[in-house]
Point group: C2
Chain length 552, copies 2
Amino acid sequence: MAAQPPKDMTESTTETRWNRRLEDIANSLRPSLHEWIRRPRRIVEFEPDSDAYFHVRPKTSDHSISSLPSLNWTKNDEFVLDFGIHMVGYLSFVLDFTGANMDAPCRLHLTFGESLFDVTMDMKNVDTWLSTSWLPDETINVDFCPTDVSLPRRYSFRYLRVQVIDVSPKYTVRFLDVLCKCVSSISHDTPVEILKYNDPILDTIDHVSISTLRDCMQMVFEDGPRRDRRLWIGDLRLQALAAYSTFRDYKLVKRCLYLFAAVSRVDGSLPACVFEQPQLSPSTDYIIDYDMLFAPTVHDYMCASNDVQTGHELWQTVQGCLNRALGHVDPETKTFNPGHSDDWKFLDWDQQLDRTAGEHGVLLYCLKAANKLAQLLQKPEPFTELVQMLTASASQFLSDDGVFISGPSSQVSYASAAWLVLSEAFPQQTARTALLKTLAHPDVVKPLTPYLWHHVCDALATVGCYQECIDIMTSYWGKMVQAGADTFWECFHANDAKSSPYGDVRNNSFCHAWSCTPTYLLRGKLRHFVEAKNLGKVTVKQWDEKWIGRTV
Amino acid sequence: MAAQPPKDMTESTTETRWNRRLEDIANSLRPSLHEWIRRPRRIVEFEPDSDAYFHVRPKTSDHSISSLPSLNWTKNDEFVLDFGIHMVGYLSFVLDFTGANMDAPCRLHLTFGESLFDVTMDMKNVDTWLSTSWLPDETINVDFCPTDVSLPRRYSFRYLRVQVIDVSPKYTVRFLDVLCKCVSSISHDTPVEILKYNDPILDTIDHVSISTLRDCMQMVFEDGPRRDRRLWIGDLRLQALAAYSTFRDYKLVKRCLYLFAAVSRVDGSLPACVFEQPQLSPSTDYIIDYDMLFAPTVHDYMCASNDVQTGHELWQTVQGCLNRALGHVDPETKTFNPGHSDDWKFLDWDQQLDRTAGEHGVLLYCLKAANKLAQLLQKPEPFTELVQMLTASASQFLSDDGVFISGPSSQVSYASAAWLVLSEAFPQQTARTALLKTLAHPDVVKPLTPYLWHHVCDALATVGCYQECIDIMTSYWGKMVQAGADTFWECFHANDAKSSPYGDVRNNSFCHAWSCTPTYLLRGKLRHFVEAKNLGKVTVKQWDEKWIGRTV
């Protein structure tokens, strides 16, 4: 997720109702970040390749990585290191020189590459409406060598491009002991089950999902460790589901739930995201569907963890997070009315998307989750009648010719279909038929983000369309893998590597939480269909090493 | 000084004869750097001014400096701070933000300005044959605010240009507690005599000389604290003379003499400069006149300090430093023969300069200094006969029409004249007449550097041409003052502010040791002529404050 509401929607600045007690609980759950060292595996060069997704292909340099400490670099030289796998961490190296004296400083330009574009395009003239301060490059100057260079900022990268801007004719520089101190709240010793699927591409998709999840798991579930490094409700919900299926980490989810609960607002609503640094602070971004989705996120957490106490503690927040959406239910049509407020309705990046049916589906989905949570907590279900009403009124979104429609122009979209199916407003057979017919509609509005693609997949799996779900997974996430991804990207267009929701691909994130869900589906609803065999457990470290061996 | 020998001269790589005992003595004399805090005095803006040397004039902004902490800056904003006086030190500030959240990092570009060009031109496309890594700019990225930003590198500057490359639309940044921790081996409490001259411009020239000297006095006498930050013999000699007249600092001179003596070479010669960081190391640069000038530098030191022990300790080095030049004495003509070796003969930057007469003068000057040193040490004078011979043969450089000439084309130059006069090869009246006639010659080759201008001034003062000396001082150094200098520059062309020996003025140094000598002459040979009145002593701190008041 990255924040920019559509132009006609205002930010919500509703006052925060701070709950310091809940904040203290969140703080008590701060993880100790685990650290490990990763060193570059090879020096890479690039050759044009019109068949490759990035139109360029890395190849191992004739200079072996073991020769790096003895390689001398002068003005305008450059090289790219491949660490073999995506990482989040802190770069350090020893810069030394060769020559009688270092008679001028050394100026270096370092670019931390998640994608091949990062290390093959330069970082100049980036035309993006997001801040260019996110660009992953640094210019540093070193006066004396040998010296330990330790960059204080955290980076998210696999490739490191080193450009020697200048030295002097009297000396050259050498790079020794280049390493990344990797960090995650998931340690290298955490066990993960290896599953073997009936199609090798699914093994890889599963692996890349888990790597994505691990690299986003820091002091909170970040949306992307490169950018925006923030905790969003929509991303959190998906990350938590993936984490339950893999690392079985409940504590970080709990912490994140409390962080939101600590900054709920006077009307009960929740900010779309929070900042954890330098101290807890709610964002002014508000997204009505993210607000509602807090309810199923708590419900999922309780189901996974059996932590009843937290369920009770957060029950009031769960009820509150639905208030604002409930105000959008039109008394006449009994359906969600997006025009009721300027609140940002997300579902997907597509500005043309009619969100009436989709938000109706989200609301129904979330009310049901709240009811189920109430059951688990042995409380009366608060939304029984509302659920009945919204279930009945959902029929307005099913057209006479059996496709899901939304809004005054009866727009047909994946978003409406996915959320209406997930809401289980229709009998499964009806939902299944309508879903498949909607997805096949010639004018259907397709998803732009992995976030919506996930909900489409989840909807397909929910109604037993496993093969259709796998087909999307292999054609969408699978194509990212074929393009070279070892973590899943914030956005992906199979035929346009340079596309970006931000105007310039160099500001995209290539390790993004909302893309990590295939592992959740493969290890959950799809598990039997894909004939997943459990090969036993390995540690995350072994898991990483196996991956590096595969790709380098 | 900055090193680039003319193309036809090779670097000397003669083997070093390390003397660790002398190095230990040099190390025992390491100064403790004194520190003090300087804060910006005003925010400045610039307006075009075709009458100003830099074609631009700083003016105080409507934003007072006290308002700085409350000023908010966004993308593409910039401002320039004026600290009121040239400084050498470490910048720090607190970066804070205004806004609900800092939802993206902040990228800043900082440029440390010695000259107005530094902060009004950008630092792109600098076309210089010196390393661009000397350029005084840094790009930094800050993830969270408020944060203490402390730049680890030392800078030499008066102005600080701050450019906000990017923030985000959601926040602005503010700069609090901006300060420079200034450093010098000269403390703020060091007493300096204030002299009042018969012309106010001389008061200023004296002051600027002393500021230049102070800012170059660090762990060694640096040639320039911005660039090259190195100890050169030619610069050291002039700095030491200025220091004897002002701060009366002998210990740092002694340390520097030992640093050279510790790395004399197997043939007795000395490298043109040494590196003190990260550990003592001789440069491969060799300049034959710098080598010789070690002798008078030791002699001057002994005269100023009465440190007989050091004189004895360095006597062997003094004798050795003349060896290589003595090999250049042509057995037939008995004069210095530049063609004898590829050794770099400097005297001035001018590549067209014929150096025969000038180097002859330097050699004779240095041999006499060695003889005088021997006298002080109660040793036999080693070069009596040589001095007689070279004095006699110097007449070859005086033409029939009474000007100093050099080389096969009888080139007339300030360099030849200055050094032949300083060598006292001729009776004073002869020297005086020839000097004035040479300087007035229509085809005379004039100096390019303050280094040679100093020797011309010194020569004039030596033969009693005080007014002519003052005229040069006020027209050369005085014009730098009028152009805004508060330290003297490495090079200066009155009519071309952008001229540079390095191809681009942005790589020039504006605080350079070899330009600090007017104070030495004003307080020495010229003292009575300029009717200098001693107004008593003030501390360096009071001296600085007085200056700041004058210019801001």
